[in-house]
């Protein structure tokens, strides 16, 4: 392996990335690229350098930004689609900005008025990563605002799929119920103090407090606990007994018994236990319902495609909405833009990067009159093409409309707690019945008393809290390690999984690090310099990898006569020397053996020097991860790429793994379905070509290099560099099942104690009021603490 001279590790003042030797600097501050320097200057000019004082290196590296990109926002009809509110003096728009990540971002984005006088104000919703901007339409417009955001490194995500917030209502209802339940619980306990302290039961206040308690408990009974009744009866109608049924029975027993006692003035009732029960259960539900609102788990092709594209007519070029394209329209697509629909190439040739769509890592050269597929990214020269199919009919979208994906995955597969409740309810009812029979003979006046006591004390408060708190803790913990699950139900699905399917490119290989090796006569520094200058001018990924590899050789100042023959190679004349780099045929190499990975031959002044080979770099720690997983799971690899990596892969995966290459998105989908006949499947992939497979699998995990990149619809999103910890994550998930079962056992123990007392007739309100919180707190503490403890075993951050 070549040794690369180490570069000094200065961090860019703006974004924190490493600064190369020929970095850019102003006043002792170094920047990694012109983009970061530009943002700094922009902030400096507007007196906004507080941005840097709030956090270290808060900036985002600028993505590919060109001033033409948002031209379509000048078209009023398109801009109107994005506006929330429109009046003569006042427009409001909300953007989703995935790169918001820290307090500096909040500060900067809420100070946008300093950059543009037309902006009235702007406000961030941090957890949803949204920015609302109010502006005056006469002074500025949507395009200016979007351009400004891009220049600052906060490019908004503009897509056809605009999900307006309806999730807010659901969570605010939960909060309201929780608030009311807490209010009632506290007040009832307050008013029950005389009971707890055993104060004079004959005082006038006894009845008075009792009636107030009764009145207070009504909102809990009818409003807060309503979701339990609905769920219980819903399940009953499907002939299933779920955990909400004994809860409902318990609540009913509590309330009726208490009402009876209060009205007949024979006791204080159990309303404090009722309120406490509902309150704890609602906390459990709230804890479990946490979702990641800043992430999008449901993206489909509409989010990936651009909103508008340039259409060329005889007279002019205009931006049109992608949906409005019809067959035979001519579109103009620039470098880095995405093709919105299947079309036929009208320019002479094009380089198309289909890596996201088919998984092929190298661009495909397409000639005039050949078909271009929607979803491909144009590299290099801009092209013109004639549309053959409308957006909704293109090959890619047909994949999404595949009937295999029609069937929405069953949201709630049978949960563990529901399996237990199948036995629990009949058991409790049976015990109550037996107790009733027993007491008929001993002292029949006690029957109702005992029956209701059994039903009250058996109410599975602790049982129903074990699952939410365990799974909620697991969700939080995994989120802290950047493995984001859509909701806690996914964890239960993962318990059943026994087969893992991996995609190759971008999933188990890291897009960033490729290993570049030079084989042949060692090149001199001068020659490396020339090659670096040569490759700098090409957008072909191989050239870019080689250029990155040669980054430390500063490029020459003299001009080179540079020519790129797309698909073949580069040729240039530097200081009188002819330098060529490219494919074997371009260079004139005969009889070469099979080489691993992609190769680029080098010749200088007609003499063949050797070749660069660019190999996939598998993520560090991959083999360890596979070793950790192989005892519990079977493996399959489905790749859209060719099989040049087969040898390397057999070294990483165990003996019985299956490998399939050159898979189209549909073939991947079909593979998943065939494996599903015997096994429960997890699919792990990153691109659009995995979208079908991800949708069809039991649990789909998308891999993203950073949180703002596009991920196809899935149940979980994992950050690329955390993928190698998957064995630890899965182990934690398996352990969580055991923790829940222990939690169940604990609550059963409490139940046994409680029911024994109930059957013997010794239940008092104080006893119930102590037992219920005690059992709940024990189970909750146990669940949360054990998950925290087990989570420490997950290795943090191996880079």
């Amino acid at each position: 392996m070549d040794t690369i001279p180490a570069s000094t590790q200065i961090a860019c003042y703006h974004c924190g990335d490493d600064v190369q030797i020929d970095g850019i600097s102003i006043d002792e501050k170094s920047f990694c690229c012109h983009g970061c320097k530009t943002v700094f200057e922009l902030l400096d000019k507007n007196d906004l350098c507080d941005y840097y004082s709030l956090e270290d290196n808060p900036g985002n590296q600028l993505s590919h930004f060109f001033s033409e990109k948002y031209n379509y926002l000048d078209t009023e009809e398109i801009a109107d689609l994005l506006l929330d509110f429109k009046s003569e003096k006042f427009h409001k728009v909300t953007f989703r900005i995935p790169t918001i990540h820290c307090s500096s971002c909040i500060w900067l984005l809420e100070n946008l008025t300093r950059f543009d006088e037309g902006i009235i104000n702007s406000q961030i919703n941090f957890s949803k990563k949204r920015l609302s901007v109010n502006f005056e339409p006469k002074v500025t417009n949507l395009k200016n605002i979007v351009d400004l955001l891009c220049k600052l490194g906060y490019e908004p995500e503009i897509s056809l799929n605009q999900n307006k917030e309806d999730t807010r209502n659901h969570s605010s209802i939960n909060l309201i119920k929780l608030g009311i339940a807490g209010f009632v619980f506290g007040n009832i306990m307050l008013l029950s103090f005389p009971e707890y302290l055993g104060i004079d039961p004959e005082s006038i206040f006894t009845d008075y407090f009792a009636y107030i308690n009764l009145a207070l408990s009504l909102p809990i009974l009818f409003y807060c606990a309503s979701e339990f009744y609905l769920s219980a009866f819903g399940a009953l109608s499907k002939k299933v007994l779920n955990i909400d049924l004994p809860i409902t029975i318990g609540i009913a027993a509590l309330f009726l018994r208490s009402t009876f006692e209060i009205l007949t003035e024979s006791g204080p009732g159990y309303l404090d236990s009722l309120a406490g029960l509902v309150f704890f259960l609602l906390i459990g539900r709230w804890f479990q319902s946490k979702t990641y609102e800043g992430l999008s788990f449901d993206r489909n092709f509409k989010s990936y495609f651009p909103l508008a594209v340039t259409r060329v007519s005889d007279t002019q070029r205009e931006s049109v909405l992608v949906e409005k394209l019809v067959v035979n329209d001519v579109i103009f697509v620039r470098n880095e833009e995405i093709l919105p629909c299947d079309s036929i190439l009208m320019s002479n040739e094009a380089q198309v990067d289909y890596s996201f769509v088919t998984g092929e890592s190298l661009p495909v050269k397409v000639l005039k009159d050949e078909i271009l597929y929607a979803g491909g990214r144009i590299k290099g020269q801009a092209i013109q093409a004639s549309v053959t199919k409308a957006v909704s009919k293109s090959y890619l979208t047909q994949l999404w409309n595949n009937p295999a994906l029609e069937k929405t995955k069953e949201q709630d597969g049978e949960k563990l707690i529901d399996r237990i409740s199948q036995y629990f309810t009949p058991l409790v009812l049976g015990i109550a019945l037996l107790a009733g029979i027993y007491w008929t003979y001993v002292d029949s006046s006690q029957i109702v008393f005992v029956l209701s006591s059994v039903l009250i004390i058996a109410c599975p408060c602790a049982l129903a809290l074990a699952t939410p708190f365990t799974l909620g803790s697991v969700l939080n913990l995994l989120g802290g390690h950047q493995f984001y699950l859509k909701n806690t139900a996914i964890i239960e699905k993962l318990w059943k999984v026994d087969h893992l399917i991996f995609d190759k490119t971008g999933t188990i290989t890291s897009k960033s690090n490729n290993v570049v090796i030079f084989q042949g006569n060692p090149l001199s520094d001068r020659e490396n310099q020339w090659l670096s200058s040569l490759t700098q001018n090409s957008t072909h990924p191989l050239s870019q990898h080689i250029h990155d590899h040669l980054i430390d050789y500063t490029t020459v100042e003299t001009s080179i006569k540079f020519k790129e023959q797309s698909g073949a190679g580069l040729i240039g004349t530097i200081n009188g020397h002819e330098v060529k780099i490219g494919s074997a045929s371009f260079i004139g190499v005969t009889n070469q053996e099979e080489k691993n990975g992609s190769v680029a031959f080098v010749s200088i002044d007609g003499e063949i020097k050797g070749y660069f080979s660019v190999q996939n770099h598998y993520r560090k720690g991959l083999k360890e991860m596979i070793n950790g997983l192989k005892n519990n799971y079977n493996f399959t690899l489905l790749s859209g790429d060719n099989d040049s990596e087969l040898q390397n892969l057999t070294r990483i995966f165990p003996q019985n793994a299956n490998f399939h290459f050159k898979q189209s998105p549909e073939q991947k989908l079909n593979h998943v379905k065939s494996i599903q006949e015997n096994d429960t499947v997890v699919m792990i992939g990153d691109g659009l070509n995995d979208a079908g497979a991800l949708g069809a699998s039991d649990v789909g995990i998308s891999v993203a290099e950073n949180i703002s990149s596009f991920t196809p619809a899935s149940e979980a999103i994992i950050l690329g560099k955390q993928l190698v910890n998957l064995s630890d994550f899965f182990r934690l998930i398996r352990q969580s099942k055991k923790i829940i079962i222990i939690g169940f056992t604990l609550s059963f123990l409490y139940n046994i104690v409680g029911i024994s007392f109930a059957v013997a007739g010794y239940i008092t309100p104080i006893f119930a009021a102590i037992l219920m919180p005690l059992s709940s707190i024990t189970v909750v503490a146990f669940s949360t603490l054990s998950i925290q403890f087990l989570g420490r075993k997950i290795r943090t951050n191996r880079l």
């Binding site: 507080d50 709030l54 307090s103 605010s172 309201i176 608030g179 009311i180 209010f183 206040f205």
Partner: protein, 55 residues
């Protein structure tokens, strides 16, 4: 001690007012975003002539 009857009614009324305020605040969206208000209070108002000392 009979005054307790009245006192309890009044305190319950006050408590219910606060409960209503809570429900209103949740509905008006104050709890949607709990992260940015914490940062927002730290902003300083800067005049064009920047003489304030920065930490």
């Amino acid at each position: 001690m009979k005054i307790l009857v009245l006192l309890i009614i009044i305190s319950l009324i006050v408590a219910i007012i606060f409960l209503w305020l809570f429900v209103w605040s949740v509905k008006s969206g104050q709890y949607d975003d709990t992260d940015s208000p914490a940062v927002r209070i730290l902003y300083e108002d800067k005049t064009k002539s920047n003489q304030s000392s920065k930490k």
